[in-house]
């Protein structure tokens, strides 16, 4: 927005005689400065990144422990097998060669794995409902954050709560792993582990009829 020169050229011929000194305007042209300011503003606005990446905490067991793996009760164990095409194959209970479990598959959609996990977590020891009611109490301000965390850990870490074993095969990718770990925290599952897949389980995946 350039300043327009509106005065009519100083003392004209009308008055004659006296020579008036030209009164110079006290305003300076700010246009270039403003241009520059906005250029810089645009540059910084476009280059800046506000959202710092988040981090998901993972705890793995110590590797070279010689002791036997803890015995897991079969009726509260859900095994998830991550495979290609973003499919999750799953079965309840132990992989007993004499009594092969029925394997089904689902996807990462909201009504797929999340529904399954929430249903299972409701069915077994009602963990999901207990955590949700705790969360509600916390949001209503009835209990403070510290108590909420302690109580929540107690509920999700309960001996009778659902155990999820996550086993990813060669075809699955990193996104699948992060997604499934994320589902664990969404579905209030506290007892889960990332375990290596066994050969009998890779065979299971092959044998599942894909519709």
């Amino acid at each position: 927005m350039a300043e327009l020169n509106t005065d009519d050229g100083g003392g004209g011929g009308k008055h004659g005689g006296k020579v008036k000194a030209k009164k110079s305007s006290t305003k300076i042209d700010m246009t270039p400065m403003v241009d520059l300011a906005f250029l810089l503003l645009t540059f910084f606005m476009l280059t800046t990144t506000f959202s710092k990446p988040q981090a998901m905490e993972i705890n793995m067991p110590v590797k070279d422990k010689v002791e036997d793996p803890p015995k897991i009760p079969g009726n509260q164990t859900l095994t998830l097998l991550l495979s290609d095409k973003n499919r999750i194959y799953y079965y309840m209970g132990a992989d007993d060669p004499n009594l092969p479990p029925t394997v089904e598959y689902t996807t990462f959609a909201n009504n797929g794995i999340r529904k399954l996990l929430i249903d299972k977590n409701k069915e077994i020891n009602k963990t999901y409902d207990k955590v949700e009611s705790l969360k509600k109490e916390f949001l209503d301000g009835k209990i403070d954050e510290k108590k909420y965390k302690v109580e929540k850990n107690k509920v999700v870490g309960d001996k009778k709560a659902l155990i999820v074993l996550i086993k990813a095969d060669e075809q699955s990718n990193y996104k699948n792993l992060v997604d499934i770990l994320d589902e664990m925290s969404i579905c209030n599952i506290g007892r889960y582990a990332i375990v290596d897949i066994t050969t009998s389980e890779t065979d299971m995946i092959k044998n599942v009829v894909v519709q």
């Binding site: 300011a37 988040q54 981090a55 998901m56 905490e57 993972i58 990193y174 996104k175 992060v178 994320d182």
Partner: protein, 205 residues
């Protein structure tokens, strides 16, 4: 009836408040902005609802790109120099002081240690071309398989230089699981059983 003269108003308007605001915003953005370090790979991390922030200092980052190549980064100028020297001693690779200095100001890197001296003597633009050359030769990324695991030594030496280091894995969503598993198992070999996955933010459902 005499005509009513309208006062002639000047077409210029007072820009001062606007300029004030513009400069205020410029100052704000200048002070808050953080430039992203120039990394050799672009990684598209998956998103999660996790709310923990990754620490800004004392951090080792293991980057896995979409093709499963592993890159490594850790902070601290002096520490980087000492770690590189230790790695050089272990693998019998010699570095000149100039190369060590260049390494200390570098960000993430991913190549076998044998390629390191040549890489460090190049300029920044040449380094980019060198990565492409390495990729063609199939030597891009830090060797991290069971036969030749240089990643293990990098993690080991970095953690000796600063035991406070925390480890974060920054993987591309498309990276295959076996590579991730190999990296995790390498960390476990170094007794790092607690680490972070770097993810993007996502709203809780």
């Amino acid at each position: 009836m005499p005509k009513i003269k309208m006062p002639r108003s000047s077409p210029s308007l007072d820009m001062t408040p606007m300029v004030d605001l513009a400069f205020l915003l410029v100052t704000f953005f200048m002070l808050t902005t953080q430039f992203r370090a120039d990394e050799p790979v672009i990684v598209d991390t998956p998103s999660s609802i996790a709310l923990t922030k990754i620490p800004e200092a004392d951090l080792i980052t293991v980057i896995i790109d979409d093709k499963g190549k592993v890159f490594f980064n850790f902070d601290g100028k002096e520490r980087r120099a000492s770690v590189l020297q230790k790695m050089g001693t272990k693998y019998a690779v010699n570095f000149t002081p100039d190369q060590i200095y260049k390494f200390s100001i570098l960000t993430s890197f991913g190549m076998p240690i044998q390629e390191m001296p040549k890489f460090l003597s190049l300029t920044q633009t040449e380094q980019k071309a060198y990565y492409q050359e390495l990729e063609k030769a199939g030597r891009k990324g830090i060797p991290s398989d069971s036969l030749k695991n240089e990643l293990k030594d990098w993690v080991f030496n970095a953690r000796i230089s600063n035991p406070k280091y925390r480890v974060a894995i920054k993987g591309d969503g498309k990276a295959k699981y076996p590579v991730v598993k190999q990296v995790i198992s390498t960390l476990q070999d170094n007794k790092v059983n607690k680490f972070n996955f770097v993810t993007d933010m996502e709203a809780e459902p």
